[in-house]
Symmetry: C2
Subunit: 203 residues, 2 copies
Amino acid sequence: MTPSPAPLEFWFDFASGYVYFAALEVDALAARHGRSVLWRPFSLGSSFKVTGARGLSSTPLKSDYAARDWQRLARLKGVAFAPPADHPHIGLPALRAFYTVREQDEGLAARFGRAVITGYFSGQVSLNEPAPLAALAARLGGDEAAVMRGMGDQRIKDMAKAQGDEAVRRGVFGSPWIFVDGEPFWGADRLAMVEDWLAKGPW
Amino acid sequence: MTPSPAPLEFWFDFASGYVYFAALEVDALAARHGRSVLWRPFSLGSSFKVTGARGLSSTPLKSDYAARDWQRLARLKGVAFAPPADHPHIGLPALRAFYTVREQDEGLAARFGRAVITGYFSGQVSLNEPAPLAALAARLGGDEAAVMRGMGDQRIKDMAKAQGDEAVRRGVFGSPWIFVDGEPFWGADRLAMVEDWLAKGPW
């Protein structure tokens, strides 16, 4: 019996615009190559402290360009892109809700992560409001009360924060970010390259 | 008689790694859509002063990733990628040589720009040494003595510097950068999107 190939790792900050486009495609891409995906949200602020970068939306010149680029990508892919007016959210509640859900079930966490991203970028879900996030988790099969508790639990808070430290340790400085058997790919525009890598294998 | 469509504008810093991959393809891409290309080198440092960014090769985490990504892209495209050991060059002589050549002939300037980039990223051409740059321009049909003089001419120096100010004024913060009828596209990985834009027209 051949061992299953390792899952892809999909690292992202919930409030990163390009994540939305990658989140719509990453599971199907992996499945075409017999792979699953581990969703790994983290706070990009941890990496920014090392690289000196700032978020797109708070960087002169880049913010205008990114807003335009997101709309072009949405048109190209035939989807809407409508983050809330106060984008980007810091979104610690979403991050902590995710890691609470993940303690219950990795697959449920992936579905929750995807639902949070698509909800946020269609203006339906806040990354900062605990009760609606817990209700969303419950609609997907999670334990609403446990998620509410988790968002206030110091152990979960530490776990969510540690994910940012782990990102820096592994060289992750942007979002979205995909590891294929340890090989790093940065950016939604690298999905074709990830697919090529999965098809042809490492060099 | 239909007027010719406007040329694409190809903005770049000579020492930017991703420029190499775009430079190999941009003229053919434009030609497929009946367009020519204006090559517009500038010093990316002007934009960095506004965005607070630093060069890839001097940014922690990013520098390691970029070096790896360039080699992957080179493999994918079947080309070599071998910048000099002291990459990135600041390259003011190359920039000034370009704008001297451009005063002679826009098409010659494009050929010169491409030759400098492919030479630099195969370790054959320095961006900092005036005499070999003037000799390269001469081999392509330029006036060697004029290029040597131009690199020391305050008027050309000012012209080269002004290109950086113009970049900032027009929102250019990265390299390579392409304008299609004023529409901005950042990055070598945006060539497919540029092609889509040329095929379908503006929204």
